[in-house]
Amino acid sequence: MPPVIDHEKCNACGICDEHCPLDVLYLEDDVLDVRYPYECWHCGACRQDCPTGAVTIEFPPMMLSV
């Protein structure tokens, strides 16, 4: 579900958490949690602002299959 975090690449800087306009992402104890994936707007702010390229966007079947 969008967005998907590559925890190997993620440096836990927290920028995506700070910038997400829908309060979807939570950085806690240095681990990035996609807590409310259903509330993602697919704006791509997290991916654009990630300094390590750790974010990819995946679309749910609800969007791709209809």
Partner: protein, 562 residues
Amino acid sequence: MQSGQDYRIEADVAIIGGGTAGVNSAMAAAELGLKVLVVEKANINRSGAIAGGIDHFHAFLESGEDWDTREAWLKYVGGLAKGAVNLKVHEAVCCEEMKAAIERVEQIGIPLRDAGTGKFYRTQALGMPGPYAINFNGKMLKPKMAEEVRRRGCRVLDRVQVTNLFLHEGEMAGFTGYDIRSGDFYQIRAKAVIISTGNTNRMYRSQTGNPFNLWYCPACTGDLHRQAFDADVELANMEYTRMTIVPKGFSAPGFNAFFGMGSRLINSLGENFMQNVHPMGDRAPRNYMVWGALQELKEGRGPIYMDCSHLKEKEREHLFTTLGYDKDTLPDFFIKKGYNLEGTMIEMTVSEPMQARPSEQCGSGIKIDERCASNIPGLFAAGDSSDQMGCLHMGVAGGYAAGKNAAEYARLAKQLRPLDDKKIKAEKYRIFKPLEKKSGMSYWEFEDIVRNITTDHFGPVKTENSLKAALQKLGGLDAAREDLKADNLHELMRVHEAMNIQQVAKITATAARARKETRFPPYHYRADFTETDDENFCGLIVVNKGAGGEIQTRFEPLSYDI
């Protein structure tokens, strides 16, 4: 879950909503040397309609072409938004500020001109008489504007949801809010307040059923429309139900890019049906495009497709690049769906409806005058949350105008007005109450009920009886508000949003009931009054709160003799 610390903040100018309009207001007020505060529910770096990017800026540039003058622009605006746009306000907040707005965007480091040619890349759609839309790469526009706001010394409170406005002797005194992560409670006083919180989304069912898969920002939920109404602020143009054409499965923007580049809509019979709907065909105003598409889908000639196959390779490349500027993830979506540059037909549909302006050149919300002032002294509005502004160009231009006017007002105001401690205490209790509930209704269920009522009864076709039924059902939900629960602060924010959406839905239905005609079909299509009636309805339905808390309306005519 407890609430956090209590904070009191004072400012000369406080701006609620740090989207495009809000950050431009902040820049203006700071430039005049005032103490400026921006309060934003998300983070001003990436908030509001252009959080992830934008690809077009509408403008007249005085290039020497006859369509490119201020007079031609005003003629276009008056024709496009007749009955909704106040041209005197438009001149003051848009035309007067247009040149400076373009310069400001470029000064903060976002080129509007093509790097190769040094010229503006301009396209024509949406009923324009000439190519008014400047195509540009605005993916970094929002963070750059945010950086400028901070550079100018404005104080920014990110992640604070504003919950209510407070007046003192009929004038703006301040507002309350809380931090959606810490639960800290804020009471803020300011000499002047600007509201710039966008339109109301999540108010109707979306195409895939997920209320966050929307064309416009799902974080904009009419919070300040509701609060303004409760503070006796007048609203206008609230009856309109805006929609657009979006890719099937993904309610993403891209309309301006597709049609600006010359793409065509075709039905499943291969017919370019817009030719029969409007003399401008696929370059018609947005509402007629939606109207045409709705008919095709309703009458069984769907699916409808975006046909780009006749475009030259270079044009297609430009189109797909610019689509990614407007919605960062849209090119990924197209690739995942198997669409490619070689002119595959892209399946499209009609987006979810929303509470918003009926055209690109006016607004829907807090009624403003030439100084961006509402009827409440000290309260101003800008951008999509005002009744006269919308779109990027007016967010930048008009946002700045609101900032200047509010700063002027704040300068002349002798002192801050007081907040009533008792009312603030009661508000704090109201805000956090859903956290105390162990069981009850979720914001999700409540919002879904609202969406079902709005969509079934006025999404978008309306009649006297459908609106009456909607209002009865929406009113019946009032009791459920007391039952709403939140398990954490994120859910608390959503609970307050859900209640605001419900109240805006009532305001929209009430205003739509008063407009007994059709205008901008299908944005306001009355099946019982199918004609546009300029004699009786060329103007604004103005909404305010009656003495008993009821929603009341009056009509204010507009004239177009420019």
